[in-house]
């Protein structure tokens, strides 16, 4: 059962064809990187997969199920998590509350209103474990907006992981990071367990080529090339439009 199977997907914004007849299959455990120049439709493709946009035509299958008509939160509940290109976290909540909301998302007690969240030991413990694992435990009570940009980009990834996804979509996780922070986030992504199928949008070629096993190159809303890393690197079309 493929984590993601996209068939003949298209998206128009008025006259603009943002995604033009894309078909894409991702195998279980794959590390796929999507590259392409600005405006190629990478983030639009993520929005279509995660349900933040509905396609003009075509189908999206997650874990063998047609989710084309499902809403974003219903798709996420199937075991998909995503991060955002522009940091999208709970700015006025503490770091701990941010992670807790990630942990809580998959619990059956997420609608409970008659018990304080603190009394859910398992959930509290899981949030604590995640923060300790990522060396952020000391900052648990800091309001998210007071954390550095680099930390916030990391928390984007941690929060997505907190929902224990089987399919992870990362939208430019290293955007705007310093070289040192980029290296740290890259190693985090490389260290993710293989059970998590990962699709990554990346602008930084060094990062892309370090993580990728297979690469999909988007160009003006279409797939220009698709294949193993070595093949893509040697592809003259890709070199022409993108790598320069």
């Amino acid at each position: 059962m493929k984590p993601l199977d996209i068939q003949a997907l298209s998206k128009n914004f008025g006259g603009l064809q943002a995604i033009n007849n894309i078909s894409l299959e991702i195998e279980e455990g794959e590390r796929r990187v999507i590259i392409g120049p600005n405006g190629a439709g990478k983030t639009t493709l993520f929005h279509l997969i995660s349900g933040f946009l509905l396609p003009s035509s075509g189908h999206v299958h997650l874990f063998g199920r047609d989710v084309t008509n499902l809403q974003a939160h219903q798709r996420a509940a199937l075991g998909m998590a995503r991060t955002f290109q522009v940091t999208n976290l709970f700015q006025k909540l503490t770091l701990f509350e941010n992670i807790l909301l990630g942990v809580q998302a998959i619990q059956s007690s997420r609608f409970c209103f008659y018990r304080r969240v603190r009394s859910f030991r398992e959930m509290m413990g899981e949030a604590e474990r995640l923060l300790k694992e990522w060396n952020l435990w000391e900052k648990k009570d800091v309001l998210l907006k007071n954390l550095s940009y680099g930390e916030q980009r990391q928390i984007e990834v941690i929060m997505a992981l907190a929902t224990k996804p089987r399919l992870l979509l990362l939208d430019e996780p290293t955007a705007g990071l310093s070289p040192a922070e980029t290296a740290s986030v890259t190693s985090i992504i490389k260290g993710l367990p293989r059970e998590i199928t990962t699709i990554l949008i990346e602008h930084d070629m060094d990062v892309a080529f370090e993580i990728a096993e297979k690469v999909t190159v988007l160009y003006f809303g279409s797939v220009l090339a698709d294949g193993p890393l070595a093949e893509i690197k040697g592809n003259p079309k890709v070199t022409e439009v993108y790598l320069g």
């Binding site: 349900g51 996420a76 209103f113 304080r116 969240v117």
Partner: protein, 312 residues
């Protein structure tokens, strides 16, 4: 001051406030006991609105609908001769919750300013019905002569001190219930929605359902305040459903500070006191209130309670 002294000072201050609240009816005249009753009732009303405004980020401009419909429900019940307070509270919570469940279906389709306008329009529909349907509601004359309900247990609610302790007890219960609610998994999710709906959806939360639940809970708690208000004043009129009564708890949140439970309560205290004291001094009291609002928004945009927090 050293931190230890500060904590001791804070503890003594809280103790003093608690003692004053507990002994109030024997310390002041019935007039002030009446004001205190109004403050506690309005504090419940303001806290219920804060569930939407402060916690979920839904700026409702029609919260009087749930207060008013519960008030009319209790008024009809009392006039029909069923003077049991607990039954009225139960029915008021049901009416507030059901009305919110219905209005929520319509209002939650919109966002931001549109949400405000739809909540306002919906509450105005109820106001219009109460105003025009004279044979049932008495129109703008309202329903007078309702009288105080009974609560059993040998307590006579016709005495203001007894009513004061009843209101205080219900206020404390509502405060505790809301404290648990806003700190529950549901309450945390509401704050997540306030901060970022798209992130909550990406995590797998059904944002609409959470907003809807917040809307219904806010209606239920507002219903309690409406029933208490009729039970205290013995009178219902369309004003209870009007825009003024929707704006009032919003002003309490602005003045007192939203997103906490103490903020709305402090705001309720300030506004009830200002209204009553200033209106005794001048007929232009709404002008004075207006100035207070403007000053509060300019200098204490996070509410008066934020000053107290900042002090520590």
């Amino acid at each position: 001051m050293k931190p230890a002294e500060l904590i001791k000072g804070k503890f003594l201050l809280i103790l003093l406030v608690v003692v004053v609240i507990m002994l109030l009816p024997s310390l002041v005249s019935n007039y002030y006991v009446g004001l205190a009753i109004q403050i506690f009732i309005m504090a419940i009303f303001a806290m219920s609105l804060d569930l939407l405004v402060g916690h979920t980020g839904l700026p409702s401009l029609g919260h009087a609908a749930y207060f008013g419909i519960a008030a009319y429900g209790a008024g009809f019940l009392y006039l029909a001769g069923m003077k049991n307070l607990w039954l009225a509270v139960f029915i008021g919570m049901g009416l507030g919750g059901l009305t919110a469940a219905l209005f929520g279906l319509l209002a939650l389709r919109a966002l931001g300013a549109y949400f405000m306008l739809i909540t306002l329009a919906l509450s105005q529909v109820l106001w219009g019905i109460a105003f025009k349907w004279r044979s049932l509601t008495g129109g703008d004359d309202g329903l007078p002569g309702i009288g105080r309900p009974e609560m059993g247990m040998g307590i006579d609610l016709r005495s203001d001190p007894s009513f004061y302790y009843l209101t205080l007890a219900i206020f404390v219960l509502v405060f505790i219930a809301l404290f648990i609610l806003v700190n529950s998994p549901l309450g945390c999710a509401l704050r997540g929605i306030r901060e970022s709906e798209s992130r909550m959806k990406a995590l797998g939360y059904s944002v609409w359902l959470y907003k809807y639940l917040a809307f219904v809970f806010a209606g239920i708690f507002a219903g309690i305040s409406g029933v208490l208000w009729v039970s205290y004043s013995g009178f219902v009129c369309p004003t209870y459903l009007g825009i003024d009564n929707s704006a009032k708890p919003l002003m309490m949140l602005i003045l007192g500070g939203s997103g906490s439970l103490f903020g709305p309560s402090i705001g309720a205290g300030i506004i009830v006191l200002l209204e009553n004291i200033v209106s005794g001094l001048t007929v232009r009291w709404s002008l004075i209130l207006g100035i207070v609002y403007v000053v509060a928004i300019m200098f204490f945009s996070e509410g008066i309670s934020s000053i107290i927090k900042r002090g520590h």
